[in-house]
Structures are given as C-alpha cells and as structure tokens.
C-alpha cells in the first residue's frame, strides 16, 4: 500500500549514498585484510609489492568511504532530516548544536561508527610506521573493521529471516508502520525524539570518544601479537609495539576514569565507581593490558614472559569485544542500569568474539613451540620474577571480576543446555551478588595490597639480578627509611580519617608504603630524563589512588541526616538505614551534621529548575559563621513539563573533601504535572468581586480588598515573550489582624491561558484572577459603551478622545495567540490608534474556518481600547469594527478564591561528604601520566635510530 505513495521531501539519494558508502567501506576492509595478509605469505614473496599496493589502495578506500559515511550521518543529523530513523531517534529541533556529537553516538550505530573511526585513524598511523609487522597487523585490523561494519550493514539474507546489522540510513517509514505514512507529506509533520536529557552534558561529548579510542587502541597490540606469532619473530615486535601499548593504557585508563568522573559529577549515583557490569567490563581489558605491559617489559629485558605477553595482548582485545557483546546484546538486562537496548545483534557479536578468540588461540597454539623459553628459572632476587607474579595478580583480579559480571551469560548458557536436553534447568540459574560493591571490594582489596607490595619489591630489584640484595647496606637502609616514613604517614592519615577494620589498615599501609618507597626510588633516579621515570609516577599514583579510595569510600558521610528528628518516627528502622535523605522546607533552615542548611530559592530557566541550597557552618559556640557556601543542584523537567527527566547534582569542592548534593525528590504535585493538575482540579473556587473601595469578606473570617489592577505585569516565574499579555490583580488579604499582599495573574501565552494563582500558606487560601477577564479581551462579546462602526481604508474617526485610522487589510498575519489551519481564510485589519502624543498599531483578525467566521480582537492597554473586526463590507472594502473601552484603572475585578490545605514547598535533599576524593583523581591521573610520558621515551629512541 505504502509503495504506491509518492512521498514529498525525502532525501532518498542520501540514503542510497550512505548505503553505498557502508558497502564500499565493508568490501574494501575485506580487500585490505586479504591483500595485506598475502604480503607476508612465503609463497607470495615475489608478488609482495603488488599486494602492498593493492592493500594500500584498499585501506585508503576503506578509510575515505568510512569517514564520508560518518560525515554524511552528521550532515543529515545537523540538517534534521527526520525521514531517517536514526536522525528522528536522536535529534530534535530544540537540541542545541553543541550536543550533536552526543546525539551522534547515543545510538548503537553511531557508537560503532565512532569505534570504526578510531581504528581507521590508528591503522593509518600504523600503515606509515616502519616495521615489518604492519602488514599482517593491518590485515587483522581490516578484518576487525569488516566485522564491526557488518553491525551497520543492514542487509537481509534472502531465504533466511535474518538481518545482518542495523543501517543508520534507514527511513523511519521502513521501521514503523503507522497511519501517518499514508500522508505523502509526513515529513513536515514529525518531530524528532531528541537526546535523552540525562545525556545532555559535556561528559557525553568527551567520554565516549576517549573510551572508544581506548578500546580501539587495544586492537593494535592484538594485531602485533598475531603478526609476531605468524612471522615467528617473537622478539622483534616488542620494541615497535611498546609505544602503542603505553598509548592504549593511558587512553583507555583515561576513558574509564572519565566514566567514573561523569557518574560522580553529573549523575546522582553518589559515587564514582559502583562495580556495575558496564564499568567492570571496561576495566577488565585495561587491567589485562597492564598485565601485558608488565610482561612486555620483562620480555624486552630478559628471555622470560614472552608467552604471557602474547596471551595478555590477545586476551585484552578479545575482552573488549566481549565487553561490547555484554553491553549491546541486552544480556545484562536484569543487572545493569546503563546497557544499550537489544537490537538483534547478539549472534553477530558472538561470531565476532569467536572469530577473534579462536583465531588468537589458533595462532598461539600453532606457533608456541617456536617461542624460546630459557631452561633456568627466574631468580628470586630478580625484578622479572616479582613483576611476573604481579601480572598474575592482574589476571586473577580480572578473572574474579569477569566471573561475577558474566553470571547472566552463564544463565543463558545453562538455559541453552536445558533447551538442548529438553529439561528446565532454571534451578541452576544464579543471581549476581545482592551487594555487588561489598562483593567486589572484599576480593579486590587483596589485589590492591598485593599489587602495591609487589610493585615495591619489583622496583627495588633489578632485571636478571641473582645476588642477595640484603648484603647491600644502602639498599637495606632505603627500605628502612621507606618503612619508617610509611608508618608515620599511615598514623597521620588515621588522624584525618577513620579506618576501622584491620584489612583496611593493611590496604592503606600498602598504599602508603608504595607512595613512600617509589618516591625514594624516584629521588634516587632523579637525574634520569623524565621519560624514564614513568613507572615511578604510575606506581606512586596507584598508591595515592588507594589512599583516596579508602578516604572517600570508608569515610563517605551522609550530611543529609538529622537523627534527632527521624529516629523513632519509623517503626523497626535500623540504625544503618537512618535517613540518608532529608526533607528541607523552603526558607526553613535546618541543622544537619554541623551545618545549618537552608533551601533559599528556586529559579526556572527553560525546563531547568535550579535550587539554591545554602550551607552555613557555625563556630562551636554558635556565634560566628565559620564558613558558608551555596550549592545549586537542579532538576530537568521533560519538554512538556509532565515529569522530571533528570536530577543533576551540585558539588562543593575543597582541596581535601567534596560536599556532594542532589535533589532526591520534590513534593508530589511538583514531580508530575498530572499529579498537580489532579490536585488543582479538585479545588473548588468561589467567584468574588473584589473592589478598591471596600473590604469584601470571604467565609466571614477573610477580608479582601483590591489595591491595583496591572496590565502586562512582570512575574519572576514567567518569561513574557513578545505578544504575551496578562492582567494581575494586586490585592490585600486580611486575616486575624494580619494583612498579606498577593499578586495573582492570568496571562495569554501563545494562545493558552495561564492562570498563576497566589497562595497564602498561613491562611490556606488560593486566590486567582477570573480567566473571564482575560478572555473578554481576546474575544469580547459584551460590555458598556461598545461602539460599532464601518471604516473605509485610510478613514479616520475620533472615538472618546482617541484618533483611530483604518489603514487597510493585510493577509500577512502573525499573531502569537492564533495558529491558522491550512484551509483557514484569515484577514487582518491594520489600525492606528493615537491620543495626540503616542501612536500604536492594532491588528484584529477575522477568520473563516470551514464556513464559520470568528474574530480575534486586538487591544492596547495604554490607549485603553480593544478592537474587534466583525466583518467586511466587500463592495466598499470597508472594515466592520467594534470598539471596546478598557478601563485603565478599574475599581473592581472578578476574582476566584478557595480554601486549601497549607502547602509546603520543599526538596528532599541528599548531601554526602567525600573526604579525600581529590586523591582518587590525582592518583589516577598521575598513574596515566606515568604511562603517557613513556610514549615519548620510545619515540625518542626511535628517532635516534633513524
């Protein structure tokens, strides 16, 4: 049915262009793989140069078509071509341009493209490296690219009911089947879905590219390892690969760190690491890469650990693919908060893992005999021995993390076996740990202890050393100094933070010891060039990270609790669960954990509502203010204000701690408009005529008097746009000797009437302007002193002191209170009104909609006139007009009042103190800095050789 429709405005040629670019990129990736693979085949030695030429052309074709298809996708997103499903899903008209990148990689297809993009960049750099491993390496990379591109191929296999990949250039009408697509002009009607408000922050712009560059860069050591195995040149690749490994370690580490910082800074998780499966599976490949880096160093300097280096690098990339599978297949569904939605790519991803996993095993198995291993063992006094043990600890840590994280996968496998055996094995299913943080911390604590201690031992020793270093006096003295300074530092830290359990003392001490010992060794080698000191920086950074984790994790303290208020209120509440969140009433300061906290005000800007929460710390006698600050957490409402879309925390940073706050909840009628409307609609208002001259009584006890009616009033809650107009009634309300001032208002905003009532909490009274007063101005029907007249073009008339001139009709209508339908006939009258001093324009409208005429009047409050165009006398081209006087200073106004329950404006606040959180960031950054400076060391040496 739909095929017969000729749609208007679709960019079919762009869809075709995108599809061709995907095919071309896919095909040339395969050609790259095939041709570069031939280069290193012994049988093809003579042809090798030709294969290199073909491979280079294929690679460039691949890169250029890939980059153009990325550019094309950006283009259709920037242009808002909503006929494309991907554009409709991720972009909307009101999405700021700065989030276009975030929108690009919000979806699976876009993030695959981001991954592909980095592979292409890295591969191109590899292509211009000077070593013999690059051809096999690029062949591997070509195959990886082809596998990832197959995820966005979007072709149906004929005969089979199986779709390969999901194409980002598919039209929305090919994905959904709804009646809208019977309209050939459907494009003009659809609005974009837009970017999830949770993702509208700069972290979403910088985190994914960094993380994907990290993921992409693990493919290079994998490619080197395959090349080394295939060429059976097991030592040669170690030097050229080293810089790549450092780069991968630094960038992937940075990507993971940014993820933690994002969670902490912008999401309301209240922490930087939650052992969520998605976090875990980005950490594991990194840890394995670091294990690889350490065995790589051993292999470079000694005859040992070559096999381990191979295994770790091969494993690291396979784990990246596995992590892609976990996050994108939907298998984590029950265990993770932030995995992608399913897209039917599970089997393709499994094939991806199997291909590169089994491929790695094949090449390793086939060639492992040729890897030489020395007969004699590493000496106990050698660095390589302890470094190797350290790598095993990395591996061990990863096994544990992966085991727990993979439980949903095991459950699927068990179900699969059950399906084969035709029995229900559901009883064998297991859940992930009920408390994942406690579970992982319990084990990873020992990993932290072992890694710190092993790093110290290894760095104290030298490669290939087999003499007992204890005979060396200065060596022993260094250790003693290290131990003493560590003990002092440890005691000092315990004055600052509470450390209870002995395990935590042990972890803290090993971290502190690592800091001291590596610092001493750093001083000893201080004369070396900075590039050679990377390992000291990294290890000191690791020690600092441990201290930071202990400080911020163990001593995380909920400020937002006031046990004196909450204790005993709730039956059987355990001590531990005592209020982590607190209700903070507006303008009612409250004591909590040494602070006097006040919710001072809230302001709206668009859909963002920002709360000013003021913290004041008083001196012990309560007289002086020691310090004060204001945090501004905010919440984002959805575009239509029907619900809260996101809650963004606000953090006060100190050098030694952070105070983290976020809005955990709001009064129910502010959480959703539905709730508010339900509440508001249940209120019954009484009409009342309020006068300037006398107090009018309501329910015998309340007296109301009009102060002044204001036209076009300002209200801080409402942004008045051009064309909006309103009426406010400033009134006095007297109740039990108290007099209150209220300023309710009613406003016409883009054709809608907004009634902003004013609320008196002491009395429990709602007061608002009767909407009729405003409706009477939009479409007047009655009133005293109406004047009807008929004016020819340019005719002038004087009415009650105003000069009124009808200029003529116009068809150019722009009235914010009226949106014309397609078949409306609309006519506007241009009228000038003057009082001798000021002249203004008034444009009433006359509309015929489906044979029904109606009028929209226009007014001018200054001149106190409202003019309605009631018809047209066609023969004389005259306008039939009605003039309504507007009382510029009315003596009375119709209002509505109701008694309501007093309402409280409050927030449910969560405030957490994180001591030493900066040590986490500083330690991590130092660790990555140590990796990064090593990259330059390698480059320098290479330059010297060339």
């Amino acid at each position: 049915m739909q095929e017969s429709i000729q749609y208007i405005g679709e960019h079919i040629y762009l869809a075709h262009l995108g599809q061709y670019a995907i095919f071309l990129s896919f095909a040339s990736a395969i050609l790259t793989a095939l041709s570069f693979w031939q280069v290193d085949k012994p049988s093809e030695k003579i042809q090798a140069n030709n294969w290199i030429k073909i491979g280079k052309i294929a690679w460039w074709t691949h890169c250029l078509s890939l980059w153009s298809l990325i550019g094309l996708l950006f283009f259709i997103m920037i242009q808002h071509y909503y006929e494309f499903h991907y554009v409709w899903q991720h972009v909307s008209d009101d999405l700021p341009m700065k989030y276009i990148f975030s929108a690009f990689w919000e979806g699976q297809e876009g993030s695959f493209l981001l991954w592909l993009f980095w592979h292409a960049v890295l591969g191109t750099v590899l292509l211009y490296n000077r070593h013999k491993y690059k051809y096999t390496g690029l062949a591997v990379l070509g195959l990886i690219q082809a596998m990832i591109l197959s995820m966005i191929l979007g072709v149906y296999v004929p005969g089979l009911e199986w779709k390969i990949g999901s194409n980002p250039f598919v039209f929305i009408r090919d994905v959904m089947n709804i009646p809208l697509f019977n309209n050939p002009n459907y494009i003009t009607l659809i609005k974009g879905n837009g970017l999830n408000p949770l993702l509208q922050n700069y972290w979403m712009t910088i985190h994914p590219p960094t993380l994907f560059l990290g993921f992409a860069s693990t493919a290079i050591p994998y490619a080197f390892a395959i090349a080394g195995l295939r060429l059976r040149d097991h030592k040669g690749w170690l030097a050229p690969a080293f810089g790549w490994v450092l780069f991968a370690g630094a960038i992937l580490g940075l990507g993971i760190l940014m993820g933690g910082a994002w969670a902490y800074e912008a999401l309301s998780f209240g922490g930087y690491w939650a052992w969520d499966p998605v976090e875990n599976m980005s950490l594991v490949p990194w840890l394995i890469l670091l294990a690889g880096l350490h065995t790589h160093l051993i292999a470079k300097n000694t005859p040992y650990s070559l096999k381990s280096a191979y295994v770790f690098y091969l494993l690291s990339f396979v784990l990246v693919v596995y992590s892609t599978f976990l996050t994108r297949s939907g298998v984590l569904g029950d265990t993770s908060v932030h995995s992608f939605t399913e897209m039917g790519l599970e089997w393709q991803l499994i094939i991806f893992i199997l291909l590169f996993g089994l491929g790695a095993i094949y090449f390793y198995w086939k060639n492992k005999e040729s890897i030489s291993t020395p007969k004699e063992e590493e000496s106990l006094f050698s660095r390589e021995f302890w470094m190797f043990i350290g790598s095993m600890v990395f591996l061990f840590s990863c096994l544990l993390i992966s085991f727990t994280t993979s439980i949903p996968v095991f459950n699927k496998i068990i179900s699969g076996i059950g399906w084969i055996l035709n029995t229900d094995l559901k009883d064998w299913h297991r859940s992930t740990p009920v408390d994942p943080v406690a579970h992982h911390n319990r084990f990873q604590l020992w990993v932290g202890v072992l890694l710190s201690l092993l790093s110290i031992v290894a760095m104290l020793l030298k490669y290939r050393m087999d003499t007992n270093p204890f005979k060396n006096k200065s060596w022993v003295i260094r250790i003693v100094i290290g131990l003493i300074s560590a003990v002092i530092l440890h005691i000092g830290i315990c004055y600052w933070i509470n450390v209870d359990a002995w395990q935590h003392h042990l972890l803290l001490f090993s971290g502190v010891f690592a800091i001291c010992m590596h610092f001493i060794l750093f001083l000893k080698n201080f004369q070396s060039k900075i590039q050679y000191l990377g390992s000291y920086f990294s290890h000191i950074g690791f020690g600092i990270l441990i201290v930071g984790v202990i400080a911020s994790g163990l001593n995380k303290r909920f400020i937002s609790s006031n046990p004196f208020i909450t204790r005993g209120l709730i039956a059987d509440q355990t001590e531990d669960e005592l209020a982590k969140n607190i209700r903070l009433d507006k303008n009612m300061p409250m004591y909590m954990s040494g602070f006097l906290v006040e919710y001072q005000k809230d302001t709206f800007a668009g859909v963002t509502r920002t709360f000013d929460i003021h913290f004041k710390k008083l001196s012990e006698d309560g007289e002086k203010t020691v310090e004060e600050f204001t945090v501004q957490p905010n919440i984002l409402y959805s575009k239509d204000f029907t619900k809260i879309a996101a809650s963004n925390p606000s953090t006060k940073h100190y050098w030694n701690k952070d105070i983290f706050t976020h809005i955990a909840s709001l009064p129910t009628d502010q959480v959703s408009i539905e709730e508010a409307t339900r509440k508001n609609e249940s209120i019954v208002y009484d009409d009342i005529l309020v006068s300037k001259d006398k107090w009018v009584s309501y329910q015998d006890s309340i007296l109301i008097k009009l102060d002044k009616v204001k036209y076009d009033p300002e209200n801080h809650d409402l942004n008045r746009n051009k064309g909006d107009f309103g009426i406010s009634a400033d009134v006095w309300v007297k109740f039990k000797d108290s007099v209150y001032s209220h300023k309710p208002l009613v406003m016409a905003k883009e054709g809608l009437l907004l009634n902003m009532n004013d609320h008196n909490n002491q009395i429990g009274l709602n007061i608002r302007v009767n909407e009729k007063s405003l409706a009477q101005i939009l479409a007047p029907t009655e009133g005293p002193n109406i004047h009807s007249t008929k004016l020819r073009p340019n005719e002038v008339i004087t009415w009650e002191g105003r000069n009124i001139q009808f200029l003529g009709f116009s068809k150019n209508i722009s009235n914010p209170h009226f949106k014309p339908n397609a078949d409306d006939i609309v006519l506007g009258a241009n009228i000038l009104v003057g009082d001798g001093a000021v002249i203004d324009t008034i444009k009433p409208l006359y509309i015929i909609r489906g044979n029904q005429p109606f009028s929209i009047a226009d007014h001018n409050f200054k001149h106190g006139i409202n003019i309605k165009l009631t018809g047209i006398d066609i023969p004389s081209e005259s306008a039939l007009l009605e003039f309504y006087p507007i009382d510029v200073d009315p003596k009375e106004i119709s209002m509505q009042v109701a008694r309501v329950e007093p309402k409280f404006d409050f927030v449910v606040l969560q405030a957490i103190e994180f001591p030493g959180i900066n040590l986490v960031w500083a330690g991590s950054l130092l660790m990555l800095f140590g990796l990064a400076i090593g990259i330059f060391k390698k480059n320098k040496r290479k330059n010297q050789i060339e």
């Binding site: 569904g333 085991f403 727990t404 409050f906």
Partner: protein, 128 residues
C-alpha cells in the same frame, strides 16, 4: 619442584578458595517463597502490581517508599525501600528487588526497574 609450580599451586589453591567464597555471595534468582525460606538477602524478580497502592509521601517521611509486586508465582507482597521513589517508577513493568523478607514485607536495599523500551511502543510526536 620449580618455583613456577609452587606459585601455580598457590594461585590455584587461593583461586579455588576465593571462587567458593565468591559463589557464596550468589543466590538463586528467587521468588518470595525462596526469600522466606533462606531468610537471607535475595533478589526477587516480579511485576509491579499496578492495582495496589504506591506510597511515597516526602511530607511524612522522605525515606519511606512502598509498593507491591507479584513474583513469578503471582505471590503478592509489599516492598519497602528506605529511599525516595525513583523517577518513572510507575512506568516500570518488570522489577528486580534486592533485600530480605521481614515478616510479611520485603525490605529492599536496591531496586532495578525495567521500563518498556523508549522505542518499543512506537509513537511519533507530531508537530501541533
């Protein structure tokens, strides 16, 4: 015996111990019956009972949130969580609660909601 062998044995021994201990942290994906039998913390998968009341009144207590779920055997139980109500809670269908049964109510320390996917019930917003 080589040092490598001793270390391998050590690692394997520690590994097995740790794994056994780790498995102790895992429980069956349970229903309320299992939760009442073990008395320990468990995960219960269920559906939000939309016909029952969902209580969160921050005026009274910002740290009290209660609702009802039906587990896979259609057993209905009240769930309490000492924290504010999560956004979009009413939209969720499948819910995984972690916690333990205290009497007849389930004290949850964690809730994971599965909302119907954003794009599943395809609706296109049209310009008004």
């Amino acid at each position: 015996m080589k040092k490598v062998h001793i270390i391998s044995f050590l690692i394997i021994a520690i590994g097995i111990t740790v794994l056994i201990s780790a498995i102790g942290d895992l429980s069956k994906y349970g229903d309320f019956e299992y939760a009442s039998v073990t008395g320990r913390k468990t995960k219960v998968v269920g559906e939000l009972a939309k016909d029952q009341e969902i209580v969160y009144d921050p005026m009274k207590d910002p740290n009290y949130f209660s609702f009802y779920i039906r587990d896979e055997n259609k057993v209905l139980k009240k769930v309490i969580r000492r924290a504010p109500k999560p956004q979009d809670f009413e939209l969720s269908e499948k819910i995984v609660v972690t916690g333990k049964l205290v009497g007849d109510t389930f004290e949850a320390s964690d809730i994971l909601m599965k909302c119907p996917s954003k794009y599943k019930n395809e609706e296109i917003a049209t310009k008004s």
